[in-house]
Amino acid sequence: MSRIDRRFAELEAAGRTGLIPFVTAGDPLPEHVAALMHALVAAGADVIELGVPFSDPMADGPVIQHASERAIANGVGLDDVLRAVAEFRSRDGDTPVVLMGYLNPVEIYGYARFAQAAVRAGVDGVLLVDCPLEEAAVLQALRDAGLRQIMLAAPTTAPARMAQLCEAAEGFLYYVSFAGITGATHLDIEDIAMRVADIRVRARAPVAVGFGIRDAASAQAIAGFADAVVIGSALVDRLAGAADAADMVERARVFLAPIRAALDAHRKQQG
């Protein structure tokens, strides 16, 4: 059983909603990525989404774009990201790590080479934003190596496609809460609840909801009907400008603690 599957099974058994923080690898402090990941776990992360910086992040809002730009300016590449995961793995063998990013860095690295290196580093899955189901054949080498391919589903996804996605989903299915970019502010909770309920009935994999969740209140609103919530831009924004590793770790703790508490205050409905 993969780390991702095991973690969601544990959450299910405990009736808890998973917390999946997203951070961009190399921002704010490129030499302390692993330390940040440990801090996320200490603050209650169940899965970590680690962003691979890319120069042209089409699906991301300004906060994550700028984090990506800073990381690139800091010289962070895919090898650095994998090194950070390996360093994290040396002290944490349980928390699943999903790399989130865009296809070109992986394409240039080479799919087979990347698959081997990522597994060796302890990566559990990848979410490549610009690689929809139709193009996923290029990721065969990753699947063969045991990496879970996390798929996105969106409010605009047509019913027939949704059925395909539910069928293909592995690890977890990431439901994009609204048609837009990361970091937006308005969520229609009722609409999300309805759609996620429908997906949870059909998908074999658990469903995580992301895009636009920024604090304890919005996380709690989602917690009632999702298997996990993803929180990215608001966290990245909070970490930006941290003076040193201790400051960064403290910011992560202060930001995530109330969200963790809000999720735990809310037992998940059975799906």
């Binding site: 910086p53 890319f54 120069s55 042209d56 992040p57 089409m58 699906a59 809002g61 300004p62 774009q65 700028h66 730009e69 690139i72 590449g77 895919l78 865009y102 296809l103 070109n104 860095p105 992986v106 394409e107 240039i108 690295y109 934003v129 610009d130 690689c131 929809p132 139709e134 193009e135 798929m151 996105l152 589903a153 969106a154 409010p155 605009t156 996804t157 047509a158 496609r161 996605l165 994009v176 048609a179 837009g180 970019i181 937006a184």
Partner: protein, 403 residues
């Protein structure tokens, strides 16, 4: 080259040109792209739509554009006859209008009241603002902050036409970032918004649709060559940034095996200097802006900043059909430097009384290089894709002249 390839058979239903093209976008865009593909495939077979498009191309754009045998320039160069396809004579002064007229009509037939566009030099932005004004559509143009500074006249033209110009300050603040930002707008406002992409890049169906709307250039030119010269040209050439004017000229000739095809990319200060925008000549296969194609990027897969004297060629990717034609050996892509383009600009002005756009001047330079090595009975057909009025300030500044 494999002579059995039918180049009209591309792309396939997934938008693939061999290994290139496709739909590399976030899930949120898959439905709007499917909706657009369905609408476009239906409309291009709809006689009422086709008739309206033809009418607009004739009476609003001014088609057909002529071909013109540049006799003085040909004599000066010595060698083959140089013939220009005069896209510079279109309304708004470039080939860009062929595409925006087409896409704006698709937008109206789809019932979308708002159009968005990205622009580098501002030509596509102006062409989009133009058709939006004519059809009464709201128009928002995304433009890199650096380009806004470089192209003030075009920014003002767009505003005069009623468009809103939004500065993009992310990344390198140029065309590629404007494209990212337009995509983000589209994802967010897809219900009422149509995204008019200005070149043969982006996810399916854009490379196909933009090509189809520009392919009239080659269809006309092919018929005009047969009518006026009784034969096809020996070589075609056109400048390639994203590649829309080039594919527009090339497409009707792809199955004419006797016609050699050469695309001219921006070699900037020289490919060896790294300051260029020659994605095909010096890049590698990758994924950018929704399609697999040749891109300029570093070993970490980060897209690199490009350089060209012409903003319209200053793009780190290229249309996937060009990538396919390169790998298939059907077309060849070479670099033309800033200096060579400037020299061609001046020669054309002095020999023929034509101020060509700096983009098109790359093609003119390449046409002269080709002609020089060919015999007098041969013909080079070159796409003169746009006029140079927009560039006079850039040229004056480069040559230290105050205007």
């Amino acid at each position: 080259m494999n002579k059995t390839v039918d180049f009209n058979a591309y792309p396939d239903t997934h938008g693939r040109f061999g290994n290139y093209g496709g739909s590399y976008v976030a899930e949120t865009l898959m439905a709007p792209l499917a909706e657009l593909t369905e609408a476009y495939l239906r409309l291009r077979e709809d006689p009422a739509f086709v008739a309206e498009l033809d009418r607009d191309l004739k009476h609003y754009v001014g088609r057909p554009s002529p071909i013109y045998h540049a006799e003085r320039l040909s004599r000066y160069v010595g060698g083959a006859r140089i013939v220009f396809k005069r896209e510079d004579l279109n309304h708004t002064g470039a080939h860009k209008i062929n595409n925006t007229v087409g896409q704006a009509l698709v937008a109206r037939w789809m019932g979308k009241p708002r159009i968005i566009a990205e622009t580098g030099a501002g030509q596509h932005g102006v062409a989009s603002a133009t058709v939006a004004a004519r059809l009464g559509l709201k128009c928002v143009v995304y433009m890199g902050a650096v380009d806004i500074e470089r192209q003030k006249i075009n920014v003002y033209r767009m505003k005069l036409l009623g468009a809103e110009v939004v500065p993009v300050t992310s990344g390198s603040k140029t065309l590629k970032d404007a494209l990212n930002e337009a995509m983000r707008d589209w994802v967010t406002n897809v219900a009422d918004t149509f995204y008019i992409i200005g070149t043969v890049a982006g996810p399916h169906p854009y490379p196909m649709m933009v090509r189809d709307f520009n392919a009239i250039v080659g269809r006309e030119a092919r018929a005009q060559m047969l009518e006026e010269f009784g034969r096809l040209p020996d070589v075609l050439t056109a400048c390639v940034g994203g590649g829309s004017n080039a594919i527009g000229l090339f497409h009707a000739f792809l199955n004419d095996a006797s016609v050699r095809i050469v695309g001219a990319e921006a070699a900037g200060e020289g490919i060896a200097t790294g300051h260029h925008a020659a994605s095909l000549a010096a890049g590698r296969p990758g994924v950018l802006h929704g399609n697999r194609t040749y891109v300029l990027c570093d070993d970490n897969g980060q897209i690199t900043e490009t350089h060209s004297i012409s903003a319209g060629l200053d793009y780190p990717g290229v249309g996937p059909e060009h990538a396919f034609l390169k790998d298939a050996g059907r077309a060849q892509y070479v670099g033309v430097t800033d200096d060579e383009a400037m020299e061609a600009f001046h020669l054309l002005a002095r020999q023929e009384g034509i101020l060509a756009a700096l983009e098109s001047s790359h093609a003119v330079a390449q046409a002269m290089k080709l002609a020089r090595e060919m015999s007098k009975d041969q013909i080079v057909l070159c796409n003169l894709s746009g006029r140079g009025d927009k560039d006079v300030h850039t040229i004056a500044a480069r040559e230290g002249v105050e205007v």
